[in-house]
């Protein structure tokens, strides 16, 4: 009896939040994903505090050394501490992952919503422009940007963000197309709401959960993309550490020190796996169609 009373007292929004938290905690994989994501973000933010050495510190008494108490994961060809570089390298990955995704969201979601809400010729024009963007794979975009602006982490992030735009436009368009048929749209019109209010106050909040899931699934792609571009010399420039740059360096020492090619790769896999698992978990709990 008391249980019923308390649920009545709690607001519907708080009750939904509680329910979501309970559902999330029932998914061990998603929780593990969240934990790993938090660890990576903390490592990136706290790199100056937790990394045993600075990213560029060289130890010429220990070139390409194996793991020891001084260097937990060994050192690279310049005697730089591998673990410290991995921790500093997380910054580039997390930065590219978050900012590329944010950029893509900010550009794609309004465009997609407008296409889906207005339909007709607006939709057709946006669809053609999306097709044009799709014709430039992110590597080709990055190649173009690197040629125009010079290679850097910022430009690689822009290329990755722009590369994610067409897919997100399609998703936002699809959602808006379905949501504009919901009853709350005529209700809002009857209340005197204009198109902008309907799109941003009514349609956007209703697609928020889809967008959160998509964001979580876009980040790992951007993390891998950053590593690829840095590996090719189109992203982070050495000596700044990035997992892609570290793999590029390791390529010259594959026979002497294959482990240098292993650790940064493992970091990339772990980070992107964590975001993917978290995104899958969020989709399961937020999508009403799969609710159990």
């Amino acid at each position: 009896m008391t249980a019923v009373d308390t649920t009545v007292l709690v607001s519907p929004r708080a009750r939904r939040r509680m329910l979501l938290r309970k559902r999330f905690l029932r998914r061990p994989m998603a929780v593990a994903g969240l934990v790993v994501v938090v660890v990576f973000v903390l490592a990136a933010v706290l790199a100056p505090v937790i990394a045993p050495y600075s990213a560029g510190a060289t130890d010429f008494n220990a070139l390409l050394s194996h793991s020891s108490s001084k260097h937990l994961l060994g050192t690279d060809e310049l005697g730089r501490d591998e673990l410290s570089r991995l921790i500093w390298g997380a910054r580039a990955s997390i930065q590219a992952g978050f900012f590329a995704t944010m950029l893509a969201m900010v550009v794609a979601v309004p465009i997609g919503m407008i296409a889906g809400y207005y339909r007709g010729w607006v939709d057709t024009v946006i669809a053609r422009v999306t097709d044009v963007l799709l014709a430039f794979p992110f590597i080709i975009l990055a190649v173009g940007l690197a040629a125009i602006l010079g290679p850097s982490l910022t430009n690689a992030t822009i290329a990755l963000g722009v590369g994610a735009v067409p897919g997100l436009i399609r998703i936002a368009r699809g959602e808006a197309l379905a949501l504009r048929e919901e009853d709350f749209v005529p209700a809002a019109i009857a209340n005197g709401a204009n198109d902008l209010t309907i799109i941003f106050r009514h349609i956007l909040p209703n697609m928020a959960s889809t967008l959160i899931v998509q964001a979580t699934l876009t980040i790992p792609g951007a993390i891998i993309g950053e590593a690829v571009l840095s590996f090719l010399g189109l992203g982070v420039q050495p000596p700044t550490p990035s997992w892609g740059v570290m793999l590029q360096d390791a390529q010259s020492y594959l026979s002497q020190a294959p482990r240098l090619a292993v650790y940064p790769g493992l970091a990339i896999v772990l980070a992107s796996l964590a975001f993917n698992v978290l995104g899958d978990g969020l989709r399961d709990i937020l999508d009403p169609r799969t609710t159990r």
Partner: protein, 316 residues
């Protein structure tokens, strides 16, 4: 059908035109005076004026664009820094990349689609979990890292396969030996995506009414799965293959760089590293055009597989 094809071709042409304008303006946005680069760093005003005149750089942008696209349509993409024909360089490099892309696509389809079918049919059992988990790892492992690991294992440690390079098709065995690792690397992520897509569309088709009808008719399970469910699931998977083309082009660039294959992808990276703008312009244009053309082909195949698209979906 004719009208549908015409509309699709028209849309593709519009996309190509816009893409070519983007490439053209992009290269014009590069800082620095192209006349100085083209005139071999000679800064004599008379020479610069002659160079500008020769390459139409003194004309307005639309005229320059029209001239450039006219030549491009006739197979002339200009000359690069070493005074070699860009079109010729691209044509010689392209077959290698096409072979790599074809082998990877074949491998990914042969592995990904049956794996997806198995996972869907045995949903919730051990084989489903094994396939799904493998696919998740396949999605999260960046292919350039997989390439490095393969080189360490199969070339450096075991000496089974050559670490890098390419041998032409006239030596088929050596050719395959050099392409085994690159195509497996490139196929891994693709197979994972195909598997996931195939699994989810199989799950929805297996729940469809016509599958229940087929079972009720007394058809055996194999016929139900392969003749009814798989055939209909392949329709969605075809679109996904089309959407993966961009990823495939990016993958070719990376894979060729790791395995030292002198194909179109490696040419792209070389062009940027040498800051050779005519070459960059040509490479990007050809990549975009290739993407549009293959996508058009996918659309046509898609409509052949699914007649409903030709009639109802023609609006999009």
């Amino acid at each position: 059908m004719g009208g549908f094809l015409l509309r699709k071709v028209g849309a593709a042409l519009v996309v190509l035109l816009l893409a070519s304008i983007l490439v053209f303006l992009g290269v014009r946005a590069i800082p620095g005076d192209p006349a100085i680069a083209l005139g071999a760093e000679n800064r004599d005003p008379a020479v610069l004026a002659a160079v500008r005149h020769k390459y139409d750089l003194d004309k307005p942008l639309p005229v320059q664009y029209a001239h450039w696209i006219w030549l491009a349509l006739h197979g002339d993409l200009g000359t690069d820094q070493r005074q070699l024909s860009v079109a010729h360089t691209i044509v010689t490099r392209l077959p290698t990349s096409l072979e790599l892309a074809f082998l990877s696509m074949l491998l990914a389809t042969l592995v990904g689609i049956p794996a997806g079918v198995i996972a869907a049919v045995r949903r919730g059992r051990a084989s489903d979990y094994a396939v799904t988990a493998t696919a998740l790892v396949g999605l999260s492992v960046p292919h350039f890292w997989l390439g490095l690991l393969f080189i360490v294992w199969f070339a450096v440690e075991l000496h089974w396969l050559p670490a890098s390079g390419y041998v032409s098709l006239s030596h088929p065995v050596a050719n395959l030996e050099h392409l085994v690792m690159p195509s497996v690397v490139l196929a891994a992520g693709l197979a994972a995506i195909l598997m996931r897509q195939m699994r989810s569309s199989m799950l929805s088709t297996l729940g469809a009414d016509y599958v229940r009808t087929a079972r009720a008719k007394g058809l055996n399970e194999r016929t139900v799965i392969w003749r009814h469910a798989v055939r209909n699931s392949l329709i969605t998977v075809t679109t996904v293959i089309g959407l993966q083309l961009g990823g495939l082009i990016s993958g070719v660039v990376v894979t060729e760089t790791i395995f030292g294959i002198a194909g179109f992808g490696a040419l792209t990276v070389e062009a940027v590293n040498q800051r050779d703008y005519t070459l960059i312009q040509g490479v990007v244009l050809v990549a975009a055009a290739g993407y549009v053309v293959v996508n058009l082909a996918v659309d046509v195949v898609y409509s052949l597989l699914n007649p409903r698209i030709r009639v109802s979906g023609a609006r999009t």
